[in-house]
């Protein structure tokens, strides 16, 4: 409750949360509101938005219902963004925690590894991996996770280096608690706040990466993604710009919401920074 009181002070963060809730509701309700395959033809092609009650957002050049595509696209974007971030957070925590806690050689090796993955240009890497293997949701998630974990690892490492010197951790070591228990049950809970903040931005970047991939035609061909709709709408940009504009706005709002939430969490979870803005 105290957390929520802090969070709601940031009006923009509350707006972000509201937008994200709408997107989540869209994602959850998609199979109920629009059962059937969003790829199927539903009506006449090129109906503009607000022209027909049946198709509030219009239809594309193959007569697919744009609203159905947007709702189903919300599922894909959120799913890929969340799962990729979850994988990245787990890997980042493990690598960062060990590097920060043990220091020395372990730290050297793990940080060199992190540096390699940080040096490889991330979008080109995702693009190449998905192209070399097949564009399926698991491969896309994995590729995005591989480029997302280094940042989290660095963050966690920094937190652990600071925590290692603190009395309560030294105390745990002194009473002979096992390293794993100290790392995951004593230190980690104290390092989670910045991880949560960064993770919300990671989800946003993952959604942007997925949409870019789908736009280039490297999305999973079996699922309807916002990027796919833009990629298809691009060919008819002159005649029907709404086909490009609508999914773009959906991506923009979702990513914006996640960034605003990140800012809000940062304010609420970092008491040190409170009142500085």
């Amino acid at each position: 409750m105290a957390f929520w009181r802090q969070y709601r002070r940031n009006v923009a963060a509350v707006i972000g949360l509201a937008i994200l809730l709408v997107v989540v509701v869209m994602a959850v309700s998609a199979p109920l509101l629009y059962p059937g395959d969003p790829w199927d033809m539903a009506g006449k092609p090129f109906i503009w938005p607000f022209q027909s009650w049946k198709f509030p957002l219009g239809t594309d050049r193959l007569g697919r219902d744009v609203a159905a595509c947007i709702f189903h696209g919300a599922r894909v974007s959120l799913l890929i963004g969340l799962v990729a971030t979850l994988v990245a957070v787990v890997v980042g925590i493990v690598v960062g925690a060990f590097a920060g806690f043990y220091g020395g050689k372990v730290d050297d090796v793990l940080m060199r590894l992190t540096e390699i993955f940080q040096t490889i240009p991330s979008f080109i890497f995702i693009f190449v991996v998905v192209a070399v293997f097949t564009p399926t949701v698991p491969i896309i998630v994995l590729a995005i996770a591989i480029v997302s974990w280094p940042q989290l690892a660095r963050l966690v490492r920094g937190e652990f280096i600071a925590l290692r010197g603190r009395d309560f951790i030294q105390g745990c070591i002194a009473i002979g608690m096992s390293d794993l228990r100290i790392i995951f049950f004593q230190a980690l809970p104290n390092a989670l706040a910045p991880v949560i903040v960064t993770a919300s931005v990671t989800v946003a970047l993952a959604i942007l990466a997925e949409s870019g991939l789908a736009f280039l035609g490297l999305g999973d061909p079996n699922v309807m993604s916002w990027g796919t709709i833009i990629g298809a709408g691009r060919a008819v940009l002159r005649q029907a710009w709404y086909l490009t504009a609508i999914p773009g706005v959906a991506i923009l709002l979702t990513v914006l919401a996640l960034n605003l939430i990140g800012d809000g969490l940062n304010d609420a979870l970092n008491p040190r920074l409170r009142g500085r803005r």
């Binding site: 240009p121 080109i124 890497f125 991996v129 192209a131 293997f133 940009l237 504009a245 773009g248 923009l252």
Partner: protein, 325 residues
């Protein structure tokens, strides 16, 4: 000066394992890929009798044990041999080097634009903190940071190309116009404007937010108060004392983002038909030309490594206290 050289030497040594790691990683990707170069060639030839395929494998050393193949691969990379593109019938390196200038010029233009605009807007927002100007700039930065690059590119094409007809929307110069000298530069500039602005927006947003926060932080430091107390003019404090220190985080982050910029240019180049590496990569995907694709990944990684080196040098020049141990 000696200090800077020492830093560079140190960094160069640190770079070796990173580059080596990337090469090994590239090799692993190439091997995990379904089907090898020989499969592709055999497919090209149309006929694929087993004997011919085996002979090809032997010829290219693909029948040797994996460590030997890795050794061969490393040796080739050291000699700057990135393999052969069977699609283009040319060595990959030449193919990439031919496209690199277009990508680098787009990237550097976008980078300069984003830093200039970002630093300018960030300084302005910090100067007018908690006023309408600050709010407008902050909202603009937030929106730019959330906008998909390729999408805003398409919207620019729609607005400035299709509706208003002010600017060209595809290619790098007017084909067949035969411009020379200054006319040609102007022509390329006109073609570059939309893709460069498209690519720059996202990074501009980052630098704006960073610069604003950084300026506000430095303004709160004691030495700035001292400068104010001894009666220095506001403008002089802002530019000579605050700006230089506040710029450091921007330099760091800009250096970290070279890789991301290269990735962004893949998207932007395909939107605007810019004849650079991004287009090459895009075409390579759909032609299943893995050698070219992995060559691009490797070369881009090396560009990032070199960029990091440049940033370290810049950093050492900007901040005389820096000493890497």
């Amino acid at each position: 000066m000696y200090r800077v050289i020492r830093i560079v030497r140190r960094r160069l040594l640190q770079m070796i394992p990173v580059v080596l790691g990337i090469v090994v990683f590239n090799f692993a990707l190439l091997h995990l890929a379904p089907g090898d170069a020989v499969d592709v060639m055999a497919g090209e030839a149309g006929a694929s009798n087993a004997e011919y395929v085996a002979q090809l494998r032997q010829q290219y050393g693909l029948d040797k044990p994996l460590p030997v193949q890795l050794g061969n691969y490393l040796w080739h990379v050291v000699q700057l041999d990135l393999g052969y593109s069977y699609r283009h019938n040319r060595p990959v390196l030449g193919l990439i080097l031919e496209r690199l200038p277009a990508t680098l010029s787009l990237m550097l233009t976008a980078l300069s634009l984003s830093i200039l605009l970002g630093v300018g807007l960030g300084v302005l927002a910090a100067w007018r903190v908690r006023t309408a100007t600050d709010t407008v700039i902050s909202i603009f930065a937030l929106l730019s940071y959330a906008t998909p690059t390729f999408w805003i590119g398409l919207m620019f094409i729609l607005l400035f190309g299709v509706t208003l007809g002010w600017l060209p929307t595809t290619g790098m110069e007017s084909v067949g116009a035969g411009y020379k000298g200054l006319d040609r530069v102007v022509d390329i500039g006109r073609h570059m404007l939309l893709p460069a602005v498209t690519l720059a927006l996202f990074y501009m947003a980052i630098y704006t937010r960073l610069m604003r926060a950084s300026m506000l932080e430095v303004y709160g430091l004691d030495y700035v108060r001292t400068a104010q107390a001894k009666g220095l003019a506001g403008g002089k404090i802002a530019f000579k004392h605050v700006l230089r220190n506040a710029l450091l985080p921007v330099v760091t982050v800009a250096g970290l983002q070279v890789g991301s910029l290269l990735g962004g240019s893949v998207l932007v180049e395909t939107v605007f038909g810019w004849p650079g590496l991004g287009r090459l990569a895009y075409d390579a995907v759909f032609q299943r030309d893995f050698n070219t694709l992995l060559g691009i990944l490797l070369l881009c990684s090396i560009v990032v490594v070199l960029a990091n080196l440049v940033v370290d040098m810049l950093y050492a020049v900007l901040d005389p206290r820096i000493e890497y141990q």
